[in-house]
Structure formats: C-alpha cells, structure tokens
C-alpha cells in the first residue's frame, strides 16, 4: 500500500482568452482517497485535472502536492487519459515500457514491472499486440497498466471510460475500483457519469457550469470494494447528484456548437 499524496487546490482560476473557465476552486484530495470531479461538459473539470498534474498552467492559484511517495515511484502525478493515448508504433508491452525507459532501472527490473502490470490488468496474452488490434476497453486497460507501472503517488484520471460502450464501461469500472483500492493511491477522477461517480468516489466534488465553481462536496464513506451498482443508498446519492447538476447539464447541452472547454 502506498500512502499517496495530498493534493491541495487553492484559489485556482483559469481563463481561455477572455472566457473564465474555472473560478477560484479550493479543494483537497485526501491521501489514498478517490476524489471525483463531477460536472456537465464544458465546466472545466478536465482543465482542472490538467492543472493538477502540471500540464496546464492556471491563470491564478496553486496546486500543492504533499506527502510520501513509494520508494520505487517514478512519476508522482500520473495521468490516465480519455483515449488511452497509446503509441500506435509500439506494442502493448512497448507502450508500458515507454514510461520506464527514462529511469535508472535495469533491463530485468523494467521487464519485471511490465510483466507485473500486464498480469495485473489481464493483458499477459496481449504483450506483443499492436494498439490497433485492441478494443477500446483493452486499450484503456493498457492505459491504466502504464500508469500503475510508475507506482504513482496520485492517479489523475480524465474520463477514462467515456469513450467505451456501456457494457465494457461497467466491466472496466469494477476492475478500476479493484485496482485503485488495492493500490491505495490518491486518485482524482474526472467524469460526467453519475454511476461512475458514486461507484468510485469517496469525495464527489460537484462543479457548476462554466465558469466552473465548486457547488457541493458529497462524501461517501464506504470502501470501494463491495460497492454494488444496485445498492439503494448509492442510487439515492446518484439521484441527489442528478438533481444537483440537472439544470446545468440541460443548459450545457443546449449550447450547441460550443467548444467543450472541459
């Protein structure tokens, strides 16, 4: 178990030219917990995640990462992207190896980590497959295997299931819950999907429509493992969340043709 990092966002605002996308966001992602950023499309939640890991410079405000990371951690803040972002010219194993190559590891250590991650994500039989030969769900598994290979202190997941069909999404959601719970890593998970939010979230941060502001924080103090999609308590929370974001979601959907800044 890695203890994980505490990620503190203070006064984060972000503008795209004149458009205010995020407005003074304060929140804390506690060590070892899953924080879900939930909101309608265009609310700036992916931007906030980009800021969290240093891929986007905020117009103002600061994100701090404090805490211990594992001895063998190679990249404390690690992303899992919506489209997996695999290199098409590398095999599954090669894509995982990519993130280990820049570090001082022996060839054997690298191979062992790749093998371990392939086994963990059920991809051992596909080590030599090309990304184009994989289904969307498999590609996303490679994405999480690659992320876990660097033993992250914090996982930053940007709608990793949104491009998948409903069945694959359901199956992978269970897998992700298991992987995250076992790794014990601080996780920030961006989604607009309520079922994903209540299945994974220990802290659900509901963001308002543009400009994104923190509307409400909902806590679910229940371990990730053992949460069922049909649990009445979780369904009740899901209904409550829908009630919170419905008006914003409807308004966001009406903004036809608007670029999705989220």
């Amino acid at each position: 178990m890695t203890a994980g990092l505490r990620l503190s966002f203070s006064g984060i605002s972000h503008k795209f030219r004149d458009l205010l996308a995020l407005d003074r966001i304060d929140l804390i992602a506690e060590p070892g917990e899953v924080t879900v950023l939930l909101g309608p499309s265009g609310c700036g939640k992916s931007t906030l995640l980009g800021i969290a890991g240093g891929l986007i410079a905020p117009t103002s405000g600061e994100v701090r990462a404090d805490g211990e990371v594992a001895e063998d951690c190679l990249n404390p803040l690690t992303y899992v992207f919506q489209d997996a972002s695999l290199l098409p010219w590398r095999t599954v194993a090669g894509n995982i190896l990519l993130v280990l190559e820049d570090h001082k590891l022996t060839g054997a250590q690298r191979a062992a980590r790749v093998e371990e991650m392939l086994a963990l994500t059920g991809l051992s039989d596909f080590a030599g497959a090309w990304p184009r030969q994989l289904s969307g769900g498999m590609r996303q598994r490679v994405g999480i295997a690659r992320a876990l290979a660097v033993r992250p202190g914090c996982l930053l997941m940007d709608e990793p299931l949104s491009a998948l069909d409903a069945q694959t999404r359901g199956l992978l959601l269970d897998e992700f819950a298991g992987l995250i719970a076992r790794a014990g890593t601080t996780t920030v998970y961006v989604t607009h999907n309520l079922a994903e939010a209540v299945r994974l979230g220990q802290q659900i941060v509901v963001l308002s429509r543009r400009p994104g502001r923190v509307r409400q924080v909902v806590r679910i103090d229940r371990p990730l493992l053992g949460r069922a999609a049909t649990d009445p308590d979780l369904l009740a929370i899901e209904a409550m969340l829908w009630h919170l974001i419905r008006d914003d979601a409807v308004a966001a959907a009406r903004e036809i043709g608007d670029a999705d800044a989220g």
Partner: protein, 262 residues
C-alpha cells in the same frame, strides 16, 4: 403515398477495387497496340518509334556498355544530390517543426525560394560551383531541399499533440519525446515525402545534365533529342521511368519494414 413491393437495393457502388493484374494488362495492351499501329504503318517512325525499335536501342546501349556509363554517372549525382538535399531539408524541417526560433524565419525563406524554378538557377550554380559535378549536385540538392523542409515541418506538426502531452505527463525528457514520439510519428509522412522528392530529383537530373555533362541519362536523352534520334531519346526516357519505378519500389520496401505497425 402508397408503397407496394420489395425494397430495391440502392446502397451499391463507390467502392472501387484494385486489380493489379488489370494494371499490368493495360500497360502491356497499350504497348501491343502501339507496336501493331507501327507495323501497320499508321505511326511514322520519326513521329513515334515502335516499342520494338526502342527495345533494340536499349539492347544496343546495354551491350555496348554505354547504358551503364550513363546510368552510373546519373545514379551517383542522384544519390549525392538527393541525400544532401534530404539531410539538410530534414534538419531545417525538424527545426521549423520544433523550435519557435526557427519557425517563422525558416518558413519565410523556404516559402520565398520554393517556387523558384531550379532550372533557371543552373547558370548561377555553374558560376558558384563550377561546370563540373558541383553545379549538377547543387541543382538536385536545391530541388529536393525545399519540399523536404515543408513536408517535414508539416509531418512534425501533425504528430498528435495528445501523445506529446501524454509523455509530458510521464515526465519524459524533451530529447526522449523527440526521439520516441515525434520521430516515429512523423516518419510515415517523411517517407511519402521521399517518394515525391526522388521524383523531383529524377526530373531535375535532365535539367542538371543539360550543360557540361559528358555522361548521364539526362545528357544522353538531350543529345539524342538534339539529333532527333527518337529511338535513343525514348530508350533514355524508358530508363528514367524504370529508375523512378525502382526508387518507388525501394521506398515501398522501406515503408513496409519501418511502418509495420500501421
């Protein structure tokens, strides 16, 4: 409106198939027709020599060894001129694609000089580099350099930014990103650019060998043309065409070897 009867199929067409045999058959058929027309006396020999006459001219050139003298002189110019233009073009193309310092100045110079007909510069090249090999190689290198720069810069620009962001998210060094993402990502476009620049080089070969060349396919074709020796003129053209086919085949093999992942 009332409808009766079975629904007619209307989803066909717009799916042309490649039939390689038909391609070869068309070429052979055209040559056979041409030969027949010559035998029948419909095509005067001076107007257009018969394929048989061209074949005989080629055979004589090959047997006398003249063909190899010309071919080796041309191949050496092509190899040196094309390589010089390609290497320098790749360097500037990558610089334009990667660095702000090089981008605008590089593109301004290239855009201004690319449309200049290189043939018009041959006299200048002769003054600068002498009437020997220097001016011929310079003509080829100049002709290849500009399209290579433009193509390479475009290839670098078209490497998906999502992949670059992904590697930044894993803290890969700048050099690693260039080597492992940008280079392989740009390779397909660079190789198809090579198909164009090798053709450009073969076209310019004839221009380069116009002045002061004792040997070379281009020089041979021009000499035959000046004498209205159309058999040899067309024999030279056939050699140039074969050269183009051989180069295209070679690049195809390289593509298959390097881009197996596609």
């Amino acid at each position: 409106m009332r409808m009766r009867g079975s629904v007619p199929f209307r989803g066909g067409g717009f799916a042309p198939r490649a039939v390689p045999v038909a391609g070869a058959a068309t070429l052979i058929g055209l040559i056979a027709l041409w030969q027949l027309a010559s035998w029948a006396g419909w095509l005067p020999t001076l107007f257009l020599p018969a394929p048989q006459a061209i074949a005989i001219a080629l055979y004589r050139l090959a047997v006398s060894g003249e063909l190899w003298t010309h071919l080796s002189a041309s191949l050496a110019r092509l190899a040196i001129g094309w390589s010089l233009g390609t290497v320098t073009g790749l360097v500037l193309g990558f610089a334009v694609g990667l660095f702000s310092v090089a981008r605008s100045p590089g593109m301004a110079v290239v855009s201004a000089l690319f449309p200049v007909p290189k043939i018009a510069l041959v006299p200048l090249f002769i003054i600068w580099f002498g009437i020997g090999e220097g001016s011929k190689i310079a003509t080829l290198a100049f002709g290849v350099f500009f399209p290579t720069v433009i193509n390479t810069a475009g290839a670098v620009d078209n490497v998906p930014r999502a992949l670059i962001r992904m590697t930044q998210g894993f803290n890969l060094s700048r050099w690693s990103i260039i080597r492992k993402i940008i280079l392989p990502g740009a390779l397909p476009a660079i190789l198809s650019g090579c198909r164009i620049t090798t053709s450009v080089a073969i076209i310019l070969l004839v221009a380069a060998e116009m002045i002061g060349a004792e040997h070379g396919i281009g020089a041979f074709v021009l000499a035959a043309g000046n004498l209205y020796d159309t058999d040899n003129l067309l024999a030279g053209i056939v050699v140039l065409s074969m050269l183009g086919l051989a180069v295209s085949w070679t690049i195809g093999r390289i593509e298959r070897a390097l881009l197996g992942w596609r």
